[in-house]
């Protein structure tokens, strides 16, 4: 019997952090394509069933997590630090990064009209956003939400943000600047 799905479920259960498809493939010794299918099927299983857990997707990989509607029960058990209040500058920056990720500092500053170095630094330290090297510019970064942030918003993929698609066009426009 083919038990790729079973194996993947076990691996996702064993690792607390998001795991990339590539890494999953190397662990279960299967092609990425096959792994991707199995992940999709797992996702369906958890979503459809009256399950207490579900699969969360992030740029860096996938992760098993509890369903957001059960948050009240779990908050009493698991301590959480990142859900502290946000300043207006932090909120604005965080929402821009969530909708337009991956986004460069210069695009962010173009939209906000203010220098954003300090706000970005604070959000990075709080673990709400992360940076990846800019594919075209050396010593520059692109910013995106962390898996933690996605889970704290109670969504299972950033494209579940309300009206997400609408803003993707805007993103192209800004990048053409």
């Amino acid at each position: 019997m083919d038990n790729t799905e079973q194996k993947i479920e076990a691996v996702l259960f064993a690792i607390e952090d998001p795991v990339s498809l590539k890494k999953l493939a190397s662990i279960v010794h299967e092609k990425e394509e096959k792994v991707s299918e199995a992940v999709e099927s797992l996702k369906q299983k958890y979503a459809s069933e009256k399950s207490g857990i579900h699969l969360v997707s992030h740029d860096s990989g996938i992760q098993l997590a509890t369903k957001p509607e059960l948050s009240p029960i779990l908050e009493e058990l698991v301590k959480t630090e990142i859900h502290e209040s946000l300043t207006p500058a932090a909120l604005e920056t965080l929402s821009l990064i969530s909708y337009l990720s991956p986004i460069s500092k210069s695009s962010l500053e173009y939209i906000r009209g203010v220098n954003s170095s300090f706000t970005l630094r604070n959000l990075l330290i709080r673990g709400l956003i992360e940076r990846i090297p800019h594919p075209k510019k050396t010593n520059a970064y692109l910013y995106r939400p962390t898996a933690d942030l996605i889970r704290h918003l109670g969504i299972s993929d950033k494209n579940e943000l309300p009206e997400f698609d609408k803003y993707q066009k805007l993103k192209e426009e800004i990048e053409n600047e």
């Binding site: 952090d17 948050s71 908050e75 959480t80 859900h83 207006p88 500058a89 173009y110 889970r151």
Partner: protein, 231 residues
Amino acid sequence: MAYEIETTGFKGPIQKLLEFIEDKKYEITEINLAKITGDFLDYLKIVENDEPRLLADFIAVAAKLILIKSRTLIPDFELTPEEEEGIKDLERRLIIYKSLKDAEENFLSLWKKNRISFAKDPTPLEQNPVFIPSSEISLPSLLASIAAMRSSITALKTQYEDYEPLNFEAYVSELITRIGKSVSKFGSVAENRNKNEVIVLFLALLHLLKDNKVSISQDSPFSEITITPNG
């Protein structure tokens, strides 16, 4: 950690400009931008007082508004292609900013719901972890790494410490002294100043004009501005 201070709670120039427009229920058009130029210039005083670090960002926008205002006031006022582009860009940024404010509302509503999807609690750290070195760890690589971080820390500090706020009040009083009781030329007042300073001086001049402290005249666009003190 002194230089982690954020520009907390303070609105940026684009946000503030949008607010002025929306308060008046205006559309984002050049004509309407001209109408709120006065409000925006008044607001610069508040910025200077409360968040001087943002003044330069505000002045950059104010300079564009002044161009727009000038064009509506002076019939044959001509703009360079770059200035035209700058004005169009300001309108575009306002439109983008406005539509992203809705995204922020959406984001905030999710954030406030506090519906968190929890990941598994990390496994407790073992008492006796196995030592797993890797080929990247060597004396030279550790040194290179800390040396690189040292310079980025220094850069961070300099960025903060080099910052000198433009003091609007000081420019206004300087202008009053320079003008004194005699007629002056703006060109000589602004001589040997950097771009930001020239803009602030110009704003200071407009401020004096508004308070009826001076009268100004200009024969043609781009020609010398003559300042005459009142009374």
